[in-house]
């Protein structure tokens, strides 16, 4: 590291040197954690008694996490805390989740919260072994998260891993093994129904029908049966912890393996983790500590949410008249199977190729063969080391150094194949490998002063930090035309001419951040509470005019039940009122967006067939580019009632201004990259309620914890001159959503229908103010479009708000019941108030299969007023126009986990040296209550904002396992 960095660091080496001194002074441990009986909550850069917390912090402890089967670690937050929404992005093994804290904060690209694990800022916690977690705290409001300054606007999640306990050595094992299957499948047409509908489409357009005898086709192929199977899932881990008065340590190893319910040999996820944490009291006044984690992941995935290919969208669109395998070539058009590279099964029979449905769709079983040589891998090393010095009785100085290094990449082999006339690779096979690495590090120093003068308690914190991001590079290499045919024989060691070997390498663009922060926590007699924070951040991401920003906050609280005037009663045992305000920043943009560069890649080829590199102006400079600012107000009350009931109610309002967006500059300016500027505002308002009941009597224990959140999102302004932003284009339909002032972000916008024309007279009667027919070219069976703006014409100006893609309500409930050695846990969560767009069927594939909903189509006068007629030409755009016909309510409630456990009696297990042995059975995603007809209503509420393009659905899983403690 060069001199500049060491200037910002504060030499850690010196601290180790001073460790050799043994100071005589004894520092009385006024804040010794293990002496406190009170519940403690982790706040930024420290901890606080829960009764004194004035911000809105959701806290989840290891005991809550233990029962949740391992998978993606962020899933443990789902449904546990009001205002923290965790939505799976797909059911594919290893697929991450979208996390939103109190709604969609900004409509620029990134809405993920800031993850801090043991003080280290990380991109996400996919690498983390779930059972290493001691606690997770979500800082929901402005006052509690403002200490993280310019990166805090989307919410802050603090994860603390286990550090070990004083006492004897503790060895434990946890493991489970389970099977998964699809919870729900689509209702698709069988071959006879398909042929009937296709024929009807031709007939309604005045053309000859295609299938002469639909009923002779029988049921045909059930493509979903070909893709769904049984997935397996297992988790094994061992952890060791222990310590004495001087040291504590925690170590663990974990192995997790999950195969998917769709084509499990090309959809799987494996993870190996190892961790070692320890702390040492070198002397009375010096404590040293470290955390270290290593994770190795390997996975492969299929297209998990897309209509352009992949097994799931192929299964939804392929016609059931095509067989899976062709055993008798005389039953099909033999010419389609003449290519030498068609894929055959183990018996040498070719896999069926659809004569009607092509482009990116293909027989999923055949497609699988082309993917077997592909996989992704990653290795992550995350570590931190700290030293803490206590001096002069009340001061603590802590210096910590964090780093993470990640290596990851993928390998792909594409063989020669012929899946269909439009999807083939007939010239060259290819083997490619991509590897990337990234290193990020940071250093933070804090000075803490704690003291009590009579009734006044003070806790003051001063700190500095320096953070360096995105140091790394990557490369990708492709070899083509290998002299082998199967992925098992593929290797980069074959000698090939240089034109068959291409590579591309890049360097990452780094950025850094420097911070100064301070906090004051004051309470008077545990009755009147105050917290104030201030953070001053500078980032290289922003223009010269705005490198630095200030982020203040404050919050106050009142423990009313500690007042002398509080009557002791059995109804309200405790009452705390709290409120706060904070200003936070969002720095989620790419580096150097404020400068103007000449970019390459605008190439042209010369007369000798050499591709020449061309350069062109990238964008315009914007020295005023700065972060987005979120200001949040939070007012709340925490009550304990009837000794057994906990109730918390929070009201909040947060407004984000200066939202970063690539603004549309006129095309005649002629630059090739978008221009990023701070334009636009958005607001979120809502209520969160957490209600819990706990009761023990004789051998029974019972607790019920529920949470409920209501969030309202509203776009307040966009860049000047823009009335709305078109969003979420769906194939040729164009945009299905709009971001428009006054409505929630990405609201569905489309046409409203007034029913279906039953006869020609109705068409003739539908006229505008001038007597002209609105839909002169319509036929009976077509939709009646509403002229929403009353201008006499049906056009894009008649698009209206059709509903929100973001749920308004999120709720969860956990029920724990215990009787002697038995325990039962039931956990459910759900969302409501949003719509889902079902975009499974390819509009441009006129021969794609339909869901059974099409059987309710219009067939004659009076048959239905809801569904239009089947037509291929579709001049009235019944199928190609965005309308409410494509939307369904997304409300759902899901029984996510049911776990029954039995702990063997300790006197029995102690004979084997086992202090605790618990056996359990878990069921995951058992029941979903919803009216939505697609695969899975949960996924739509996440990053895809309500557009279902054939999600990889979540699975129903049964697992059995054991927890053993020695």
């Amino acid at each position: 590291m060069n001199l500049k960095y060491s200037k910002c660091l504060g030499l850690a080496a010196v601290l180790y040197f001073t460790a050799n001194y043994s100071a005589q002074q004894r520092v009385s441990d006024t804040a010794s954690k293990e002496k406190l009986i009170e519940e403690v909550v982790v706040i930024g850069y420290g901890t606080q008694k829960k009764s004194n917390v004035t911000g809105a912090i959701a806290s989840i402890k290891a005991s809550d996490i233990e029962a949740i089967p391992a998978g993606r670690p962020e899933q443990v937050l789902q449904g546990r805390a009001a205002g923290v929404n965790v939505i799976s992005n797909s059911g594919q093994p290893g697929s991450n989740a979208t996390i939103r804290v109190r709604g969609v904060t900004s409509y620029s690209s990134n809405n993920d919260p800031l993850w801090v694990v043991d003080g280290i800022v990380v991109d996400g916690i996919g690498w983390l072994n779930q059972s290493d977690i001691e606690s997770i705290e979500v800082l929901k409001d402005g006052a509690s998260s403002a200490i993280y300054g310019v990166s805090a606007a989307r919410g802050v999640i603090l994860v603390t891993t286990k550090k070990g306990k004083r006492g004897s050595l503790n060895l434990s094992y946890n493991g489970f093994y389970g099977f998964s299957s699809a919870a729900r499948k689509l209702d698709l047409l069988n071959a006879t129904q398909y042929a009937t509908i296709i024929n009807e489409g031709f007939a309604n357009d005045g053309k000859a029908i295609r299938f002469q005898n639909p009923s002779s086709l029988g049921t045909g192929t059930d493509w979903q049966k070909q893709i769904f199977g049984t997935g397996e899932r297992q988790n094994q881990e061992i952890s060791v912890q222990g310590g004495n008065e001087k040291s504590t340590f925690f170590g663990s190893f974990g192995y997790y393996d999950q195969s998917g319910i769709v084509m499990s040999d090309i959809s799987y996820y494996k993870r190996l983790t190892a961790r070692l944490n320890s702390t040492h009291k070198a002397t009375d006044w010096l404590t040293l500590g470290q955390t270290f984690a290593y994770t190795h992941q390997k996975d492969q995935g299929i297209n998990a949410n897309g209509e352009f290919g992949g097994p799931i969208s192929s299964a939804a669109n392929l016609d059931p008249t095509t067989p899976v395998v062709v055993t008798d070539l005389s039953t099909v058009d033999a010419n389609m199977y003449s290519n030498p590279n068609i894929i055959r099964d183990e018996n040498g029979n070719p896999y069926g190729i659809s004569p009607y449905v092509n482009q990116e769709m293909s027989n999923p079983k055949a497609f699988r063969y082309t993917q077997l040589g592909n996989f992704n891998w990653s290795d992550n090393f995350i570590a931190s080391v700290f030293a803490e010095i206590k001096f002069l009785n009340h001061f603590t100085f802590k210096s910590s150094l964090n780093g993470k290094k990640a290596y990851w990449g993928s390998q792909n082999f594409t063989p020669l194949f012929y899946l269909s006339p439009t999807y083939s690779n007939l010239v060259n096979n290819s083997l490619s490998r991509t590897s990337q690495n990234k290193f990020e590090w940071s250093m933070e120093n804090t000075l803490n002063y704690q003291n009590k003068f009579g009734q006044h308690s003070f806790n003051a914190l001063l700190g500095t930090g320096y953070y360096d991001y995105n140091i790394g590079n990557g490369q990708t290499i492709t070899h083509t035309n290998l002299p082998i045919s199967s992925y098992q024989d593929a290797s980069f060691n074959f000698a090939l001419p240089s034109e068959n070997r291409t590579s591309n390498t890049w360097d990452n663009v780094e950025w850094n951040k420097a911070s100064y922060f301070g906090r004051l926590i004051y309470d008077y007699d545990n009755r009147y509470l105050f917290t104030g924070t201030l953070r001053y951040d500078g980032s290289s991401l922003f223009g010269a005019n705005h490198h630095w920003g200030v982020f203040p906050s404050f919050s106050v609280g009142w423990n009313v039940n500690n007042e002398s005037f509080w009557p002791q009663n059995n109804i309200v045992n405790s009452l705390k009122l709290r409120g706060g305000y904070g200003t936070l920043g969002n720095d989620g943009i790419e580096a150097f967006r404020f400068s103007s560069f000449y970019l390459s890649g605008f190439n042209y080829t010369n007369g000798n067939n050499t591709v020449l590199t061309g350069y062109a102006p990238g964008s315009l400079a914007n020295p005023d580019l700065k972060w987005e600012t979120t200001r949040q107000v939070n007012i709340a009350a925490d009550l304990k009632l009837f000794s057994n009931v906990n109730l918390s109610i929070d009201f909040y309002k947060k407004k984000t201004v200066d939202i970063l967006r690539p603004i549309a500059i006129p095309g005649y300016v002629g630059v090739s990259a978008p221009y990023i500027a701070n334009v636009g505002d958005m607001e979120n308002r809502g209520v969160e309620v957490e209600l819990g009941y706990k009761k023990n009597w004789s051998d029974f224990t019972f607790s019920l914890n529920t949470n409920f959140a209501y969030n309202e999102n509203e776009v307040l302004s966009l860049e000047t001159g823009t009335k709305y932003l078109d969003e979420s284009g769906y194939q040729s339909m164009g945009p299905t959503q709009r971001t428009i002032v006054g409505d929630p972000y990405k609201s569905f916008y489309g046409f409203k229908t007034l029913g279906v024309f039953q006869n020609q007279a109705q068409i003739n009667a539908y006229v505008n103010g001038n007597g002209q027919m609105y839909q002169a070219n319509a036929k009976p069976g077509d939709f009646i479009w509403q002229d929403a703006n009353g201008d006499g014409v049906i056009d894009d100006n008649d698009k209206v708000n059709l509903g929100s893609s973001i749920p308004k309500f999120n709720f969860g409930a956990t029920l724990n019941f215990g009787y002697k050695n038995w325990d039962l846990m039931v956990f459910g969560q759900g969302a409501a108030g949003h719509k889902i767009f079902q975009g499974l069927r390819r509009l441009d594939m006129l021969d794609a299969n339909y869901q059974t909903k099409i059987l309710d189509r219009w067939t004659g006068e009076g048959s239905t007023n809801v569904n239009p007629r089947v037509t291929r030409d579709d001049p009235n755009k019944n199928y190609s126009r965005m309308s409410e016909w494509y939307l369904q309510k997304g409300d759902y409630f899901r029984i996510k986990l049911v776990q029954i456990g039995y702990t063997l009696p300790t006197d029995m297990t102690q004979n084997f040296g086992v202090s605790k042995l618990r056996l359990f059975i878990t069921g995951e995603n058992l029941f979903t209550f919803t009216k939505y007809t697609g695969y899975d209503p949960e996924i739509a509420a996440g990053d895809s904002f309500g557009i279902d393009r054939a999600f990889y659905p979540q699975a129903k899983t049964f697992m059995f396992g054991a927890n053993v403690t020695f």
């Binding site: 500049k4 060491s6 200037k7 910002c8 504060g10 010196v14 001073t18 100071a23 005589q24 010419n335 003449s338 010095i389 001096f391 100085f397 006339p421 439009t422 060259n428 290819s430 000075l447 500095t464 320096y466 068959n500 291409t502 663009v509 780094e510 850094n512 951040k513 500078g538 290289s540 580096a591 103007s596 000449y598 890649g601 605008f602 080829t605 010369n606 007369g607 020449l612 590199t613 061309g614 350069y615 062109a616 102006p617 400079a621 006129p666 095309g667 005649y668 300016v669 002629g670 630059v671 000047t720 823009t722 009335k723 040729s732 056009d795 894009d796 509009l843 441009d844 030409d873 190609s880």
Partner: protein, 516 residues
Amino acid sequence: MKNKFLKITFAASLLVGLSAMNVACTDADLEEKTNPGTFLSENFFRNEQECFFALVGTYDPLRKYAGGFENLVTFYNAASDDFYAGGGSATDGAGIQGVSNFQINQNTMPASYWRDYFQGITRANTLILRAPNAVMDETTKSRFIAEAKTLRALYYFDLVRIFGNIPLILKPFSATDDLFNVPQVAPSAIYAQIESDLTQAIPDLPMTVSGDQKGRLTQGAAKALLGKVYLYENKKAEAAAQLADVNGTPGGTSQYGYKLVANYGDLFKSAPVTEANDPYKFSTESIIEVMHTNKANSDWSFWGQGKDEGNSICIMTAPRSYTKKSDDAPDIVSGWAFNTITTDLYNFMQNDPRRDASILNLGLLKQQNKADYSPAYMDTGYFLNKFMPKTYMLTNLPGSQELNYRQNYILIRLADTYLMEAEALGGTGSRAQALLDAVRARVGLASVPVSMQAVKDERRRELVGEGHRFFDLVRWGEAASKLSSKGFVAGKNEIMPIPLTELTGTILKQNPLYNN
């Protein structure tokens, strides 16, 4: 006690020193991060290497004719009476479908036709402004600037023919400019600028180019373009003068080395990809030719970004699900079935020797059971044969086969300039007769008496599918009559609507009758 005091002091001063060091992070530490592998705009254009990079970037938009889904040739073919849009269905490609039945509006008009050309103009403007300060050989510098001016003229010519009412921008913008208050000008002002750019550029361009310089603009190319521009402005005398210089003696070799190619079909042939050099490229008839290649290894991540280097007309005009059934059927690669040919054109070309090179009668082959295909939207059985992809054209390098066809597109060729000169001469006189005869004689047709109608008919037969027919009809004032059955509205559809995204926030006005 002294020991303790010393230790405390030592520890305390260490801490103070450490904290003090930490406060030293300043702007300088934040600003030392750089963006590797890029050039800051204010540092570019220092020498010949950087000016050449910028020149290549200015040539890049030439791929708009044949590259990408939204290419000029298939779009304007669909607008003419020779072709329909075709494709997978009525919704496959809102732009090309909309122009085929003239339902196109400001929402469906692809914005890339506006943006890509203005990007080319900005690149030319920047080069013309900044190259004079570069340290390099003066002749080369003048040549670069002349090429940039010619390209700017070409891009403005296409823009004014496509949109009619556009702004005239001659220098690059900076962040502090008022970006949204740029007005449109009358087409005559654009044409005046085009004429001025070409006239200034012509003396500084080379007479001929060879070797790796093939494809770069020459004097002949600029003159041919200027003649074409004059013709569109109805400045017939000036047009005839420029084109005469380009054409030389009808049927012979002109001063720039241009001569009609002996075999018409060779103009649209492509050598197998296994041959490094394609002898069919840059023939003697080619005046402005756009180079395409498979060496860029284009893949789908380039699609829509304007970075793929292949000729997209090939995959777009090939039939869907083609299967060869007999040995004498062609080895065609299946494609997306756009630009199906109208029966009207097929009948018009009945006895013309150029018919088979231009039109593939796949309907007949299917009837004869020699080949099969899956008819797509607006199928007529007739397909454009000039860019038909064959299996020997499939790329043998990495990248998707659809995006790596290396067949070039000839923007202006000698037969075209012969006929334009004949038109500029009013379709009368011995020179016009000689020019018409030379084009016909090349394919073995006998002479016919020259007239405007004869010249117009010959243009239709000679230039099938090359993207010129719609503009010709508009220029002759025959669009309304010939295209009425397709929905052409006079006074409206001669130019395209300005895409809505380009109007938003600006003071630009939409073209007449497109306001909805």
